[in-house]
Symmetry: C2
Subunit: 506 residues, 2 copies
Amino acid sequence: MGKEEKSVIEPTREENYPEWYQEVIKASDMAELSPVRGCMVIKPWGYALWENISRILDDMFKATGVKNAYFPLFIPISFLEKEAEHVEGFAKECAVVTHHKLEQDANGHLVPAGKLAEPLIVRPTSETIIGDSFAKWIKSYRDLPMLINQWANVVRWEMRTRIFLRTSEFLWQEGHTVHATREEALDRTRMMLAVYRKMAEEYLAVPVITGEKTDSEKFPGAETTTCIEAMMQDCKALQAGTSHFLGQNFAKASGIKFQSEKETEEYGWTTSWGVSTRLIGGLIMTHGDDNGVVLPPRVASAHAVLLPIIRKEADRQMVMDYTRDLAARLREIRYVGYPLRVEIDDRDIGGARNWEWIKKGIPLRVEIGPKDIASDSVFVGRRDKDPRDKSAIKKDAFVHQITGILDDMQTALFQKALAFRRKHTRPIDDKTLFDAFFTPENPDRPEIHGGFALSHWCGDGACERQIKDRLNVTIRCIPDGRENEDGRCIECGKPSHGRVVFAKAY
Amino acid sequence: MGKEEKSVIEPTREENYPEWYQEVIKASDMAELSPVRGCMVIKPWGYALWENISRILDDMFKATGVKNAYFPLFIPISFLEKEAEHVEGFAKECAVVTHHKLEQDANGHLVPAGKLAEPLIVRPTSETIIGDSFAKWIKSYRDLPMLINQWANVVRWEMRTRIFLRTSEFLWQEGHTVHATREEALDRTRMMLAVYRKMAEEYLAVPVITGEKTDSEKFPGAETTTCIEAMMQDCKALQAGTSHFLGQNFAKASGIKFQSEKETEEYGWTTSWGVSTRLIGGLIMTHGDDNGVVLPPRVASAHAVLLPIIRKEADRQMVMDYTRDLAARLREIRYVGYPLRVEIDDRDIGGARNWEWIKKGIPLRVEIGPKDIASDSVFVGRRDKDPRDKSAIKKDAFVHQITGILDDMQTALFQKALAFRRKHTRPIDDKTLFDAFFTPENPDRPEIHGGFALSHWCGDGACERQIKDRLNVTIRCIPDGRENEDGRCIECGKPSHGRVVFAKAY
């Protein structure tokens, strides 16, 4: 049986989606779990994706007036304790530093020594440590708004880890802002959510629903948490980014005060917002297929790989010169603000070479052999098409059209993901149907298996809890722009005025 | 007494250099110490400098084939123990994570809970954790060279901290490579040292001496450590970057083996190399003056600030339009590969505005008032000139000449620093003179006070130790390209074949 007939990734998505996810990452060489519990190693092909994502986000943040800074990795326990809900949320899963050196014990083993007077935790998020700086920096309304972002690693001690999606250490950005008024802080919360939506939809080609979390799902210490929620190919939701309106909670906890224009002393209004390497997991689960990862062109680790085909040693020089010349021409082209990223792979490993790049998800594979050169053509395969579906194109035409081809692929990926989400999103008003929708492999209703249920909810946390206990389904968000519509809570039947998004989630 | 007559930074460099350093950083608003012992907060004006430095370095690394990746923050103690010298070097000053959560004790205080079976240390450097990955990734000579870099935070528990120069947490890059042969690894060690030299001299305008460390000063576990050494304005040396040839020490410790072309199993040859936020401290101490920081244009946080002068409200619109138009034109210009970074400061705070930018070290201050606009001119001050020395220049000419002006300033800063180093570097062959050279405020020889002494050394660590104990002077490096010259060790008088660089150091 040829490679064309079986899938490259085993198991397939349909056979076992969680295992497919592990295998597709392994096959793409993007990352792996490390020997340190719950921590990952992000390999070059995965890290390049993060570099591209963070560069684009960074440009977008700066365009809104945000500046980058850097704050300590460690947070004294006393800081964490300042905000009651916050400590509640993070104390259960944080790395605690208790000593500042190692010494040999009687058996010659290294053991912790130099006990700290106050233990430090490795930041799980930085509201409290950044708040301490803000309290010192801000004196007057003239110092506002304060718009700061940090690119950093954070640690949350997770018991069940899954690469990119839930790891003890992950990379992220966390924005922290202070404003003179509630309205301005709310506007900033929404402005950054819009940036995340743009990033997800226009760059990662991942359609998202924006909305507000219910009380039970919001950030510990926030007044409101807004989010972007995406649907993965197993119909589960992934929270891909959050933007929090913190009210005056953290300002009061950290003493962030300012003198207003009217010379009164006021507490600031703060926000925080973050996305992480989790975005990479979301991208893989949205676009990946049974042949491997599929990278959206606008953030792809590389855009094209040139594959010189050299069957006779006599051809080598000519083929390589042609290949290098094409690479140089392509690298002069800018795409989404940066030069095209072009790889040359001249390894002599047969068909494995082509499949390796398919598994890595590179948007374009460009074969260059003596025959192609004779007609001044290249032979191009697109990652979003069947692996056998390749076509000859004149070299000059390819150079002129490449950004158009990439954009075309970008759009196709987004549209496909959007169609998938639409197919698996439905209003449900009947409790039996609701339960059936979320019951795996329901033999009675195979056509309605999982996804986003748009159902009425009365607003009571008790109903939310019961649904979660029974089905492991949560309210992903109260979606933005939902219509006022009278209905009855899917759980208790009491009156409701609008639908929320229910789903199983990562 | 007007501002022109006294210095802005007090004390001056001459009065108290270490205090000047603290004050100049405070005045520039680049960074501050945090409430977490030994950790710093890098503020936007300081972080922008680090962004520029790291972007340029990153481009240079990638041009040599290096790819970025990311490895865990935590290192199990057992990994650290694999290399004996290495553990010796870092066990004395590392943050140790012993628990993974916090719980309330009987008094309601949060205390560490969930004790780890094996304590983890926060990486002080990553040879051992990256070595573990390399051992898995590398199987054959075809996998070599392995060229990896990581941008990361590291922690070394310092007892005496000094902002940017020596902090418990700092930001850096650490490159780690594996090669099939000793020669290739040595070449890579030198190639990266050359990158650091280029960074220091061509971008930071900091002249450096390259060379090799003596055994007592080399990296724990390295076979040889090469370095770049700069001279600060107090004549002390700053080690600004290191590139280590690790031989097979870490390959043996981590089991990095490969099958050679001859099908034998061999250990790899590894290198590691790093520079950190310490570079910022070096830059400040090299170029700063008694009015504040002086930023070299090629890495400056911003290149120019436009200062609209509005004395009558009726002029506001016209002056601001002119200013914004100029900013837009300047931002279209590329300098060292990136768009010019231009600030507009329209605060109405009088002369303080100008002085604030002088203290921050921005290369160009551009005043724009109604009179200047009438003659289509701007009024430009250069940070490397006297603050009162400003000159009118036609706006179009300024736009056309700005990159030339910046380059001119860049060169002037480098030349000034080089002249300073030359002035304070001298061959010394007499032990009495040597001791006098390094004795502060020597009343007998005021003209020879500190700097780099080029003196003979027999190669014996005992002589090195005696000099260090007596004068707190160390061998900064055995300089590259030193001439073979017969002489006598400055300490013991035994034969020597060349000079080394002696200095007090940070």
